[in-house]
């Protein structure tokens, strides 16, 4: 077991973890933040995407011990004081989700990307979300939502 500490959605946590514990399992099972989903075992689907020190990462690709000292943001931290983040509003308004399983990771990937590129084109959004798979929406409304969120955040 190894002692780690990290800030998740603004709250500092300290915990003992097995060295093999994946960050996503730490978040889901030890912190009981189950909004971040696990959709595969090959770092392919992106359902578990979170922000680590502001960068989007697949939390199944990071060991919890590697996140020692990091500042982590998950879907549960997107809204502040009950106000939805523009990406949440946009996904709702543009029907950017159906079953909703990929949605937390998709939104976190989008938030990370819009931080790097606040005014993307449609093609840029499509490329930026390449690491996040959705089986319900055909991505059409997800892309619209990310573009709408970019507009909203820029205005």
């Amino acid at each position: 077991m190894k002692r780690i500490s990290m800030t998740v959605n603004g709250v500092r946590h300290e915990a003992d973890v097995e060295p093999r514990t994946l960050l996503v399992h730490f978040i889901r099972e030890q912190l009981e933040l189950t909004g971040t989903n696990v959709g595969c075992d090959t770092s392919s689907c992106g359902a578990c995407t979170i922000l680590m020190n502001g960068q989007s990462v697949k939390s199944c690709t990071v060991l919890a011990v590697q996140a020692d000292g990091a500042d982590v943001a998950t879907v549960e931290g997107l809204a502040s004081n009950g106000d939805w983040h523009p990406i949440q509003r946009a996904f709702h308004e543009q029907h950017g989700l159906q079953c909703g399983f990929c949605t937390p990771g998709m939104m976190m990937a989008a938030v990370g990307y819009l931080d790097e590129n606040p005014s993307p084109t449609e093609d840029e959004v499509r490329l930026a979300l390449e690491g996040n798979l959705c089986r319900c929406t055909g991505y059409h409304n997800i892309v619209k939502a990310v573009l709408a969120a970019a507009d909203d955040m820029g205005s």
Binding site: R28, L33, T34, G35, T36, N37, V38, G39, C40, D41, T42, S44, C45, A47, T74, V75, E76, L78, A79, W84, Q88, F91, H92, E93, H95, L97, Q98, C99, G100, F101, C102, T103, P104, M107, E122, V125, R126, L127, L129, E130, G131, N132, L133, C134, R135, C136, T137, G138, Y139, H140, N141, I142, V143, K144
Partner: protein, 788 residues
């Protein structure tokens, strides 16, 4: 307060979203119960192998492990094998299918042992310690190879690998072919596909040993059907099983329309151990242990006049069942059996299908189930006919469309409601600017560059809402075609809708709220929809086959009408007039000619609850139920158009435009309908261009994870262009049809037809799915007479 606002037809944002957008989705992996144990399965790495011995002792002794069992250890748990509910012929061969194999493992992934531990990691670690001695046998993985005389047998107890042959003939097929000027004869392969719902399957089973009651949470599309089948498989009285499909199930596409080994196994383990048992599939494990789709070889012949008027059809299908028969697998080809003539006419039709065992993961219904395969074959073949007779592909479709009308007789044997196929084609051509496209294409060809463009059409008709129950009986489908709803006005004036559908992304909570809010005249926000828990919604036939709106949604509509009827009696009583003296609009009854004498639905709900003054023949409460058994299938249709750019040097295909004009009748929520089309279209395009599950000869699944099975991302698609025509179904009072699978049904042939069109000047007439750059390049080389 009554509201005049109409919700049906409007794109109200979904009620399902807030929890899913904030990380509060209630997916099953998040469920933990006190004392819960975790199961991990040991699966055969061989396509076909005798199980000579299973030694679980090392696993059982590992840290955290409670118990480990072989298939033989569990044999007395099963009152019956895993269920198969669609024995399509009287002489179909149905193999035993035990949740854990006992003597022979018949595909890579067939469970041979289970380890139960206090944590998932402990169970997975210990599963590695189970020692299985296999006697490896020759496997057969290809559907045609499995039909060869000397093929290894998947089931030794059968003479060969055929499960069944099912045939259908309408009219004099030989005569139609005898008088034909042209016959096109095509052979197509439907690659095996992996459904890939984003949420992996999971199950939690809990027993109460003192009462013998069980609660089973499963990521299922069919909680009610599963309840019946769990009872039969495990020998548990049905009334003592409660099945819960969680509020949020992360997609299905048919992959959760089944009764799986792991569900039965967790129930059996909970029964033995008296503790809750949970199993969650890893994605790669799911690739082995969750049903696959398609995997058919199709032969289709069309007989026609020299003008391209179709006279007859001959179709022969070999359909892989996999190693066992999953829940409705034999019937999947039958769902397409009537549709190999598409939306076209003709005098005669013959269809024949053989279901074939192979040493592969069982197949079953994957989005569209039989109809995408049928539509692919006819829409590719009609293009072949167009080339043969020198008629434009849009024109040959128009020329052969069945006439517009209701209950139009199709050569396939069904009568199609709400047929009107030309307007959808016309609209698609208009959106495309067909003439403009052909002139661009001619310019490109004259330019002679390596980037050529093509357009492909697909005009489909499909069948939704499997019904009525009597017709399902004639097809030997062992379930009904009905669904159920209860609508209940609550004392506070709000309403509760209890539905037998079991949504997993389709937005039923939103759509059913729209239907009920309009019918009851209350705000959309005041409607609650309950689903998925057999204790809450006791009756249902669940969600598959694009049936939910056309069956369960109509049940909601009808139940609302019955609530209004009952409310009318109460209103008349309270207002001291005859019921026929009342007018009803938007949730308010008013006395004809005395518009200020009214009773609103919330007032009546409260009065019905207090029951202080009721009509003589009336009981307290204001609720009604409907079990709706539709009189017929519904028949959505449409025309889809794909535009591709193909690099003739590399074979790379770029999908440039995708136009979908669908007719699903009146629309409850256009935003949701568009979303269904987008997702369906994406899955069909994925089949056309990217996805294919392949097996090595020894039965190893080569595409064993998301790394090498190509689920496309946003970068692989353009934005889609959608439009609709609206031709109401006459089979139900709402006129609705179904849209969940139309996109998948229409799209794959449009894409492949477009690729062939782009390369037609090079002599290319066929590119198999998925049209990888290599396959496209080889098709070009072959057509040019080069190395291929």
């Amino acid at each position: 307060m009554a509201t005049a606002e109409k919700y049906v037809g409007g794109g109200v944002p979904r009620k399902e979203d807030p929890k899913l957008l904030t990380g509060q989705g209630q997916f099953l992996e998040g469920l933990t119960l006190p004392g819960m144990l975790h199961a991990a399965l040991v699966r055969s790495p061989h396509g076909s192998a005798r199980i000579n011995s299973v030694d679980v002792s090392a696993a059982a002794a590992a840290e955290g492990v409670v118990v480990a069992y072989s298939g033989a250890d569990l044999a007395d748990e099963w009152a019956a094998g895993l269920p198969m509910a669609w024995p399509v012929t009287d002489d179909i061969r149905i193999p035993d299918h035990w949740p854990v194999a006992q003597d022979v493992a018949r595909y890579v992934g067939d469970a041979v042992a289970v380890v139960v531990a206090t944590s998932r990691n402990a169970a997975l670690d210990a599963a590695e310690l189970v020692e299985v001695e296999y006697g490896v046998q020759e496997a057969v993985v290809d559907v045609e190879a499995a039909l060869a005389d000397d093929a290894p047998r998947v089931h030794e107890s059968f003479d060969d690998n055929k499960s069944y042959t099912w045939a259908l003939t309408n009219g004099d097929v030989d005569a139609a072919f005898a008088k034909a000027d042209v016959v096109v004869s095509e052979r197509y392969t439907q690659p095996r596909l992996i459904p890939n719902a984003m949420e992996p399957r999971a199950v939690v089973a809990q027993s109460v040993p003192s009462t013998g009651d069980f609660t089973v949470w499963s990521t299922t599309q069919i909680p009610h059907v599963a309840k019946v089948l769990f009872a039969l498989t495990l020998g548990i009285p049905e009334g003592q099983i409660r099945v819960i499909a969680p509020t949020d199930v992360g997609g299905g596409f048919g992959s959760k329309l089944n009764v799986y080994a792991e569900e039965a196994l967790c129930i059996a383990l909970a029964r033995r151990l008296g503790r809750p048992v949970k199993w969650v599939a890893g994605r790669s494990e799911g690739y082995l242990a969750t049903i696959h789709g398609r995997d058919q070889i199709q032969q289709i012949e069309i007989a026609a006049t020299s003008d391209g008027d179709i006279l007859g059809y001959r179709v022969n299908i070999a359909a892989a069942m996999g190693a066992y028969l999953q829940l409705v697998a034999p019937g999947v080809p039958l769902l397409g059996a009537f549709l190999y003539c598409g939306c076209y006419g003709g005098e005669a039709y013959h269809f024949e299908c053989t279901g074939v065992f192979t040493n592969t993961t069982p197949t079953d219904a994957y989005r569209g189930a039989g109809r995408p395969e049928a539509t692919y074959a006819i829409e590719r073949a009609i293009d072949a006919l167009a080339r043969e007779v020198g008629v434009d592909p849009a024109e040959i479709r128009r020329r052969n469309f069945l006439p517009a009308g209701d209950m139009v007789q199709s050569p396939g044997g069904l009568a199609f409601d709400s047929a009107d196929y030309e307007p959808a084609l016309d609209r698609a051509l208009e959106l495309l600017d067909y003439d403009g496209f052909r002139s661009d294409q001619a310019e490109r060809r004259e330019g002679g560059g390596s980037r050529q463009i093509g357009v492909g059409f697909s005009s489909y008709v499909e069948i939704c809402g499997l019904a009525p129950s009597q017709v399902l009986a004639s097809l030997k489908y062992a379930a009904g075609g009905w669904d159920a709803a209860t609508v209940r006005m609550l004392p506070t004036g709000k309403a509760e809708v209890v539905t037998g559908s079991s949504p997993h992304g389709q937005g039923h909570v939103t759509s059913w709220s729209q239907i009920a809010a309009d019918a009851l005249g209350i705000p959309y926000e005041d409607v609650t929809v309950l689903h998925g828990d057999t204790h809450v919604a006791p009756h249902g036939m669940n969600t598959y086959g694009s049936r939910s709106l056309a069956v369960a949604g109509v049940a909601v509509h009808n139940a609302c009408d019955r609530v209004v009827d009952k409310a009318r009696g109460l209103a008349a009583h309270l207002l001291e007039v005859a019921p026929e003296d009342l007018e009803y609009e938007a949730g308010t009854f008013s006395v004809k000619g005395v518009p200020d004498r009214t009773k609103s639905m919330p007032e009546l709900a409260f009065a019905a609850w207090t029951a202080h003054s009721l009509p003589e023949d009336s009981e307290p409460g204001l609720e009604a139920s409907c079990v709706y058994d539709p009189p017929n299938f519904t028949f959505p249709f449409g025309t889809h158009v794909a535009v591709v750019e193909v690099d003739t040097d590399t074979g790379a295909v770029d999908l440039v435009r995708y136009i979908a004009v669908d007719d699903c009748g009146p629309v409850i929520n256009p935003v949701i309908v568009d979303g269904q089309v987008h997702g369906g279209v994406a899955q069909g395009i994925a089949a056309a261009l990217y996805e294919e599950a392949t097996y090595a000869e020894d039965g190893t699944l080569e595409t064993s994870s998301m790394v090498n099975y190509l689920v496309p991302s946003a970068a692989e698609f353009p934005s889609f262009e959608t439009d609709r025509t609206v031709t109401p179904s006459t089979s139900n009072p709402m006129g609705v049809k179904g849209i969940g699978e139309a996109g998948t049904i229409g799209s794959a042939p449009a894409v492949i037809n477009a690729i062939v069109d782009a390369l037609s000047h090079l002599g290319v007439t066929d590119v198999p799915m998925p049209a990888s750059p290599e396959r496209v390049w080889r098709a070009i080389q072959a057509a040019q007479g080069g190395e291929a």
